[in-house]
Each structure stands twice: as C-alpha cells, then as structure tokens.
C-alpha cells in the first residue's frame, strides 16, 4: 500500500477516561473485530488490565478503513499510560505520527493526560483532541473544552465530541485521523530501519518484536541484526496484527507489524532497539535507544520456603514478556531465599507482585521498596545501591545521591493546603502553581467540582513517593487529585542507613536508607513495633535501632520466665506430647537472628507497616 494511505496513531488518556472503550468502538467500526468476538476492553486481555482499567502490556492492531473511495491502513498502537512505563510509551509514540488525546468531559484534564500529551508533543505528533463521555449527566464539554484550549492551544472546533460507550462520534474520530494525521515518510528502497516498540514471547515463534518500519523493507527469512544489542537472528516470520498475528511475509516502510525472531529470551530484543538487515544494512540507528533504568528495588520472598523454585520459574516466565523486570537471587537471614527485583517504578512493582500472586499462585513477602541510590566513596568510586545492605560504611562514604522527580498534581483548589502539607512532610520542594480553570460559577459550592482546578508542581525524592504517597494524595483530596511524575535527576541527600539489631545482630530485612531527619522517628517506630511482635525468649532481648554504630532507639524484651505444663499425669501424656510436637513444629518455622527466634509474621507486620 502507498504510504500516503497509512496512518499510525495511538490513544493517550488518563485512567478511566475511556481509552479502551474508544479503541473497542474503532475496532468495531472498522470491522477489524467481528462483533460476535468483541469483548469489552478488547486490547486489554490481562485480567489485571481489565480490573484496574489500565494498560500494562503494549499492543498494536492494523485496521482497514474506507473513506471517500480511498482505502486506508490504520495502525493503532496501544501503550501503557503510566509513567513507570514511560520509556515504552515514548517508543510507542515514536512509532506514530499522531495521537488521540482523550479527556473525560466531566472530570477534565488530569495529571496523566498532561504528562502524556506533553510527551506526544515532544515527539512531534499531531494531537487530535477528543472529549469523551459527553452522554454523562455531569458532562460539561464547554468548560472542559476551554481547559483543553487553554492548556494545549487547540481551536475549540478541532475538538471531537464522543461517547465511546454509546458509539457517538466514532466516525468523526476516524475521519479526523485520516484528515489530520500525516502519513508516514520513509523510502522503502533504503536500508532497513525498524524500531522495536514492544515485544512479547510466543512458545513456538520465540520473542516477537513489535516494529514500526521507518525505511526499507523486510521479508521473512531475512537475516536481521539488532543494532543496540548487536545480536543477529533470522526473521522466521513477518506479519501484522489483525489483531491476531497474520503472516504477510513482508513489511515495508511506514508499516507497523511484527518480526518473529525465534529468540528464547527478550534480552537480545530490547524495546527501543533498531532492527536492520545483516547484509547491506543501515549503519545508523534510530534515535532514542536507552536501556531501561530500574529505579525501584525490593526483595521478593516466598512465604513458604519450598516455593523458592516456583518463584524463580514464575519470574523467568514473567520476564519473557516484561523485558524490564530484573531479578537476582538474594538470601536474607530473616526471610530465607528469595530475589532482589528491579522495577521501572512503584506501579511496575505492584503489578509484578500481583501477577506473581495471581497468575502463578504464589504467596509473597515483599521487603520495603528501596530506590537506586548512588553512593560516592571517599576514593571517588561510584556505587549503585539497590539494597540497603550494600551501603558502604559511613566512614568510607563521601556522599549519597538519590533520585528526584518532578511531580505534577492537578486538584480542586480546596485541597491545596492539605497537599502542600503532605509535600512538606515528604521533603518536596514547591515549584509552581497554575490555575487551569476558574471557579465554576454555576456549580454548587459544596461540590469540589465547583472549585478552580489547579496544577501544582513539586520536586520530590523518589524514595518518598514509593512509600505511602499515592494513597495519601487520594485521601487528602477525597480522590479528586491526580498525580503524575517524571524522573529528573540525582541529588545529594542527607541520607543514612538505619539498621535494626536484635541482641547486637543486624536484621537484614529491616535495614533502611532514610533521610537523617526521619531516621529517629523510623527507628523508634520499628523498635516499638518489634517489641510487640517478638515473643519473649529465654534470655533478655535488646532491640536497637542504629545509625552506623550510634544507637538511636532501644527497647528490651524481658526474658520469658515461665512456660511449663503444670500437670502431667497418666491421662495427659498423649495429648501433651502432641501439644509439644505442635509447638516444636512451630519453632522450626521461626527465623533465627543471632540467637533470637522471630516468627515470620513479625517481619510481615513490620514490612506491611512501611508500605
């Protein structure tokens, strides 16, 4: 097909603004999916995606659309919207010429809308504004429309009004795509350049690279090279998503499709990499290839020691479709054998954990998440610290850097004070405030929707965001505020490693890297909690919180004085023996730190508390 009739686009929206429903309607209207096979949120096949209304795994689909006697090839690339998957989103955007920006006509622009729209603008995409859910009784297309005009500079008559649920305005959206999104450029005769914007794993075809061909063409059987990872394989199959894999034998410039590589791991087939042919290939990669940066780390442990092997297998399987996930075996005195896992962000971590539990039926204990710190040693050496236990001794440290981010919050104005207060508690630096809309004079002043809507920007350490932040924003704004963030830089921080010791022995699962100002409160809190959950032992137990060699909090558990069966006569023996056997069995499950026997539930209670 002539590239003139190809349109590559994605849909960007805040959660629940109707991205998936709009995609469903587009699939139906173009006849891509037979209505009999249609299920809601067709592209979000994972249970977790359907339940949470989010896209975790990117997808693509090719559609055929007829307009004014022309036949168009429309390629919809579905991307995860969340900032944790920002890199994947950016690669997906790089594969498109246009983006449909969907905004809920009653809720208005949210933080994630803004972040994704800016990202799309940054990729020079043509943005088609859509106001969705106009059928809802509280829809206010006029007011929200003016928000869009003010923020992005659209013309108000550019905005397409839709109700994806009711099927209103869908053909307008399709017409607008054809009319406004430019066709792809790129010469099919030049050497091959294909951008990998996602990948998945198929047990028969190996790793499947999702690609956008920027120039040249590829036929199945061609020897190809991944330029970034420098690995070569044969393209065992080439085709398009309709939405199932359809072998077309060929892809040419401007098209979106897949290349089956036969690879057994996703490692050699990284998102963002450029594929070219082995012979007569391109010498120049497409811009923007970055290995993904892992920013959040946590230990994952099976709650039953025997499931270690199952956890390993589950992680390996998950990794086949989630190239960003990394894991390494780790051994904790307190929790046994497990893995230190690296994630793209807190949502990524949450999703991986939930998928492991649901799809692989595992019961997991997660240590408190930690960000990747950089420790600069006295000798200038730079270390990345993914686990508090790797932290060098304070004496050998020059400084510690921690990742910071720019957080954008959009909220009705009445919650500004409470959010500001949270930001102060979380070491945030206020950057700016912008009024997106004025007070809604027709509204009811008791309704937060009456308020002016305000955009707040803060700089904030990532470490503060990953523990109890999102919930706090939601609580403090009664659910009205939305949050988005973007990594900015590493900054030096007054950070210390807090250890918890039982009778002088450090409990590895309970070490934290924490800001100095918060170390005393955290240390006190941990020590107090531990005192409640550790049973009395046959000797005195000292629970201490320490910064280096300095003790900052201490509690003592007095020794157990009495534990004996008062009576044991002829009729008691069998029963009492069974009781003792049960207790002895229970003792075996205790974790021993130093000489102190600690029930696993104790760690659980503490770790949950830190989330």
């Amino acid at each position: 097909m002539d590239t003139e009739n190809i349109r590559n686009f994605c849909i960007i929206a805040h959660i629940d603004h109707g991205k998936s429903t709009l995609a469903d309607r587009i699939l139906e209207t173009t006849g891509t999916v037979d209505p009999r096979n249609m299920t809601a949120q067709f592209l979000d096949q994972m249970d977790l995606e359907k339940e949470r209304g989010i896209t975790i795994k990117g997808k693509a689909v090719r559609m055929t659309f007829h307009e004014n006697g022309e036949v168009y090839q429309l390629n919809l690339i579905d991307t995860p919207g969340h900032v944790d998957f920002g890199y994947e989103v950016s690669r997906a955007l790089a594969a498109c010429e246009g983006a449909i920006l969907v905004v809920d006509a009653s809720q208005g622009i949210q933080a994630q809308t803004l972040a994704n729209a800016y990202l799309a603008l940054g990729h020079d995409l043509m943005i088609l504004p859509v106001l969705n859910k106009i059928d809802l009784p509280f829809a206010d297309p006029e007011r929200i429309g003016s928000e869009m005009v003010q923020l992005f500079g659209f013309d108000s008559d550019e905005i397409v009004l839709t109700s994806a649920k009711e099927g209103i305005g869908i053909s307008d959206v399709l017409s607008s795509i054809v009319k406004n999104i430019p066709p792809p450029k790129g010469d099919p005769k030049e050497p091959l350049k294909a951008l990998i914007f996602d990948s998945s794993y198929d047990p028969y075809k190996g790793v499947i690279a999702y690609v956008r061909i920027f120039q040249g063409s590829i036929a199945s059987g061609t020897r190809i090279k991944m330029m970034g990872s420098n690995s070569e394989v044969d393209a065992i199959e080439v085709g398009v998503f309709r939405p199932n894999l359809e072998d077309t034998g060929m892809l040419t410039a401007g098209e979106v499709g897949y290349i089956a590589t036969g690879l057994k791991t996703v490692r050699e087939c990284r998102v963002g990499d450029t594929i070219t042919t082995s012979s007569n290939g391109s010498y120049e990669e497409l811009p923007g290839y970055n290995p993904q940066k892992l920013v959040v780390f946590a230990g994952l442990y099976p709650s039953e020691g025997e499931s270690y092997q199952s956890l390993r297998e589950a992680l390996e399987k998950l990794q086949l479709n989630d190239a960003a996930l990394s894991f390494e075996p780790e051994n904790s005195q307190a929790l046994g054998f497990g893995f230190r896992c690296g994630f793209l962000g807190p949502l990524h971590m949450e999703i991986v954990q939930e998928r492991l539990e649901r799809e692989y039926n595992l019961e997991l204990i997660a240590t408190s998440p930690s960000v990747a710190y950089k420790a600069i040693a006295q000798n200038g050496e730079e270390l990345t610290i993914a686990n508090p236990s790797e932290m060098p001794h304070p004496g050998q440290l020059n400084k510690i850097l921690e990742p910071w981010l720019l957080a954008t919050i959009i909220t009705p104005s009445r919650y500004i004070g409470s959010i500001m207060e949270l930001m102060t508690n979380k070491r945030g630096n206020y950057k700016r405030i912008e009024y997106l809309t004025q007070v809604n004079a027709q509204g009811d002043s008791s309704d937060p929707a009456y308020d002016a809507r305000v955009l707040l920007e803060f700089e904030l350490p990532l470490a503060e965001l990953i523990i109890d932040f999102y919930d706090q924003i939601k609580t403090r704004s009664q659910g009205y505020a939305s949050l988005d963030y973007d990594m900015i830089d590493y900054k030096e921080g007054a950070l210390v490693k807090l250890d918890v010791m039982l009778n002088g022995k450090v409990v590895d699962a309970l070490s934290f890297i924490v800001h100095k100002d918060k170390s005393y409160a955290l240390g006190r809190n941990l020590v107090n909690k531990l005192k409640d959950v550790i049973p009395r032992q046959m000797f005195e137990v000292a629970i201490q919180a320490a910064l280096g060699s300095r003790i900052i909090a201490r509690e003592t558990i007095r020794p157990l004085r009495k534990n004996v069966l008062a009576k044991c006569y002829g009729g008691d023996i069998t029963r009492k023996r069974k009781l003792l056997e049960k207790q002895a069995e229970g003792k075996k499950r205790l974790k021993t730190v130093g000489q102190v026997e600690v029930p696993q539930e104790a760690f659980l209670a503490l770790l949950n508390n830190q989330k």
């Binding site: 157990l560 009495k562 004996v564 008062a566 009576k567 006569y569 002829g570 009729g571 023996r577």
Partner: protein
Amino acid sequence: MIDEYVESLQKEIYVWSKIVKNPKVKTVFFGGGTPSYIKANDISLLLKTISQSFMLDESAEITAEINPDDVTFNKIYELMDSGINRVSMGVQSLDDRFLKLLGRRHNSKDVITAYEVIRNAGLNNINLDLIYGLPYQKINIWENTVNKIIDLNPEHVSGYCLTLEPGTFLRHQVEIGVRKKPDDDLAADMYRLLCEKLNSAGYLNYEISNWAKKGKQSLHNLCYWKNNIYLGFGAGAHSHLPGLRYENVSSPVKYINSIKNIEDNNYSDADDLTNFRDQILGVIKDFELNDKQMQMSDTMILGLRLTEGIYYSEFRQRFGLNLDEIYGNEISNLKELDLLEVYKLNEDSILRLTEKGRLLGNEVFLKFV
C-alpha cells in the same frame, strides 16, 4: 446406673488382670470425674476385685480423690475401712471469691472443716490441691492461702498454675476479652513464693508442681513420671502398657454397654486374647503404639519433671543406649541455656532441670519430642 457401672468396672479389672497375667500392684487411685458419685461401699467392692485379680501389695498406696463438701466422719471411716490410706482433696484456694470464680461448690470454711474431719479420723496421708495464677489474683491473696495450707500441715501439696484449657469457660472469657489474661510473670512469682514457703516448712519439691513431707511422695504419680506401666479402668480412663497407650470410651453408657459385650470366658489363655480382641477394642476409644523413639521421648519429658531427674544408668538399662548418644546435642544446648544440668552421684550421672529450667520446662521438653 452406678451399680451397673461398678459391675462393669469389676469385669474390666478381671479381664485385664488375665491379659496382663496378674502382676503385682503397688498403688491404686480412685479419681477423675466426680468422686462423690462413688460410695465407700463401691470402693470396697472394687478393691476386693483388685486384690482377687492382682497381687495387691500389702503396703500399697491407695488414694481416693474427694471434694471438701463431700467429707463427713462416716464417709472417711468407711473409706478407711475399705482400704483407702491416702486422700487427695481439691482445695484450689482459700479465698472464697476465687473459689466462686473457679465454679467450686465449697468455700474456705468447708476446706478447714473437711481437713480436720479427715485428720481426726486418723488418716495420716493427705494431699491438698491448689491453683494459682488466677485472673485478678494478687500475690498477697495467694500468700494467704499458702500460709493457711502450711498451718494445716498436710503430708502432700500439689500447686498448679491455672492453664486456660481449650473449651473451658475461663479461656473463652479471656479470648473474648471480658477477663484479663493471667500475667505469666506474676504466676512465676507465685510459684517461687510457693516453693520458698513449702521448702522452709519442710516439704520436698520432688516434681515441678508437687511437694511432700519426707517419704510421702505420691507413689502412684511417680509411676506416671517414671514412664512405668499402669492400667486405668472406667469411662475415659487411660492405660499404659509396654509400647501401648490407650484410652477408654468416654461415655459411661457406652462404656457399660461395651463391657457387657465382652464374653464371660476363661481369659487365661493368651491365644484367647486374639479371640476377644474385637470385644475389648469396643471399650477402647483410641490407642497409640509407641515405638522405642517415642518411649524414650516420653521417658525424657516425664522424667525431667522430677527433681531427682533421669539416671543415665536407668536409661541405659531400659533402652540399651546412652542418653548422650540419643540426645547429646539437645542436652548440651540446653545446658548452655542453663535449663538442664548433669550431676554426679556415686558412679552414676543424673540429668535434671535447673531451677530456671523448672519454670521453663516446655522449652526443654520441646527438644525431646
């Protein structure tokens, strides 16, 4: 029904005496359930059956459990007449509020009266059972009870810490939070107080919860703690034979009926045993075969309750193994924790709980199950 029940007991005693080949009997204990249900006359009948079926030692210790509110001169005389030479009375406390809490029908005055009746009747081997560690019980209240008990000067005292057994009302109340959980440290203090007071009054603390004047240890209970064999008769009774523990059905009606099912026969021939095994199994609710490992384990758990401890030589004689061969690791770990000690007596070594270990017995026993 009592008559039927007593007849069943007589038959059960007779049947088992044949099975175990009429060995020598050194102690008899009438107890469990509500002792006042059984009349002195019945006890007399049963003791007759025992002495006809077994070789009842002339100096056998024969104990009857009794409640303070059941004691009369007549009753005690009759009991002594029928052969009872030791009485064990459930006193529990000498504070009426706590007696009420425990659901006892007697009050402290009943106890004093009953004790004097028994003493005046001429019985010279009396045990009094006490309970401490009760909810709301303060140490001075307990001290008061202990002082009064020492004034009475019984030959034997058992002092038990309250345990909130599953299914009891007290435990339920603690679980739902209407009663405070008894304080373990306070209970430990009460135990210490009991030890001190009784020791200075001349009692020997010969088992974790038992004290006796010299020569007045309960021979019957020593049999349990030394993991020796015994036969229990009646509904819910427990027995221990070499390698076997079993428990009778708990319902008296079921008990009577299943005893009736045993054929009147000449049981003297061991081969017959297989013939009426099924009939005997009808009386048994539950049984457990104890292999050597379990027998050794029971010997440890029970024997360590005794102050005299476990003799290495006796263990070797019984099991053909050295104690350290089997439990060397456990023993040395527990010694390190100051819960066990080994002392030498003549050529023999003896393993026993330390003073600290006595209150932490379970921590020790756990290592031997």
